[in-house]
Amino acid sequence: MFFSQTLTAVKSVFRIFDMAINKNSTGYTFTFSIIMVVIVGLALAFTSLNLKPLQKKNAADKQMIDILGAIQVSTTRENAKTDFPTFVIERVSLDSEGNVVKSMSGGINTNDVSDPFNLDVKKDYRSKKPASELNFPLYICEKDGDKIYVIPVVGSGLWGPIWGYIAIASDMHTIYGAKFDHKTETPGLGAEIKEDFFTEKFKGKTLNEVAPFFKVLKGGSSTDIHSVDGITGGTITSKGVEEMVNRTLAIYLRYFDKQTNSNAK
């Protein structure tokens, strides 16, 4: 009853309003658009603010799943938070010379900006800043008693960004595993980089001593231990994978060199 009364009242207001104003005038059109934009803006801002914490948590969970995926530990969204600290014993951020800037361990706090886990490598890549101004996260994992280093990589495919993780075994030059993903690569061609058949090929391959450290070659021509076959029909995406792996490894290899040197002393 109350509802229908309110409705009637609102309707009559609209009616009076309707008669009083010329709806085809430019002034009315402008006023209408301005009010509309303000209301829509408020509504969207409100939704975004309210859902942000949940979305952030989902993105963090996904990141943990992907990092664990690179060392062949499969987990679910529910278990990611507990599984992650058990395998990832240390996470460090490096500067472009390979020096450790910050080291952390234990659980993740997504609000702590100094946590290497929260370094946004995709954003850094987009910003096109020189490497010397950036920090690089590295995840040091322990699985079956061995140390594994997980390196996040970001680059460009044919249509949009591609990214992933490369896991390097404790000898610091054998690839333990890899995981790639993409935003908008062609389904059936470039998009195949996220499939297991492609990432499987990286396992057991080693990095070259000099650049290029690793090659993604034309299908069928990979013969040596420092390269894999690319995806037929996905040449530009395959080249993108090669580029991002080499560019990123150049920085992390400085860290590995420092580690080996200090161990040797």
Binding site: S12, R15, D18, T47, L54, N58, G188
Partner: protein, 229 residues
């Protein structure tokens, strides 16, 4: 006072009058947005690889459609004629963004699979078409029914196509929240020494077009009046 009376007095139409039933029923069959009007084909081809995605997509479109129809219908006397298309676009776009944000927050895995297609709801011609053709000239009540009718008309085609494609393409059926259920025994497959193989062609978009085509064929052979001369 007199204005108020003139609005309140007309006899209320029953929710299930013949006219309202027609609004609901027509888009399911003889005025189906996909098979008869051939609108929204793009998403019908792209999102029908798995039933699960089709269900979520249908629900999202239904939500945007009902929301858009109600809002436009309520504002129909206020929207300036000259910018009505832009106004409709803004309304649809903001509803779509809300759907996208909600999916990202509560159904992250589904949101990842639908990826760009949620954003493409904005360009789904069915929604725009209904706003322009119906909501702009009718009261909110009938507009809701029209939106539900067209939303379901879109949904059942999507579901039918995705069921066919998933069964023959992946040998499975997936529902939101239940994951993918493979119902064929593992040993039937050639890879395990059996006789059966999934039809990979079914997973590719062209087969969606063929399946939609078969539905159109069946529909027109049953109702000859739909065939254009």
């Amino acid at each position: 006072m007199s204005t108020e009376n003139s609005i309140a007095s007309p006899k209320r139409e029953s929710l299930f009058s013949k006219k309202n039933k027609k609004l609901l029923k027509d888009p399911l069959g003889d005025a189906n947005p996909i098979t008869i009007q051939v609108l929204g084909i793009c998403s019908a081809l792209a999102i029908t690889v798995q039933l699960q995605q089709a269900v979520i997509m249908s629900l999202s479109v239904l939500f945007v459609m009902i929301g858009g129809n109600v809002i436009v219908s309520m504002l129909r006397n206020l929207i300036p004629d000259r910018i009505r298309i832009i106004v409709q676009l803004v309304i649809i776009a903001s509803l779509v963004i809300i759907v996208d944000e909600v999916l990202k927050a509560y159904l992250p895995d589904v949101s990842e699979k639908l990826s760009v297609f949620v954003g493409l709801i904005i360009t789904n011609c069915i929604i725009m078409g209904r706003l322009e053709a119906f909501a702009l000239a009718n009261k909110p009540g009938p507009s809701v029914l029209d939106a539900i009718g067209n939303g379901l008309g879109y949904a059942w085609i999507l579901l039918a196509v995705s069921v066919v494609r998933e069964i023959f393409g992946s040998g499975a059926i997936s529902m939101p929240g239940m994951g993918q259920v493979k119902f064929l025994p593992e040993e039937w497959f050639i890879s395990a020494g059996g006789f059966y193989e999934n039809n990979n062609l079914m997973i590719l978009p062209p087969m969606a077009l063929v399946v939609v085509g078969v539905i159109i064929w069946i529909q027109r052979s049953r109702n000859k009046s739909l065939i254009e001369s």
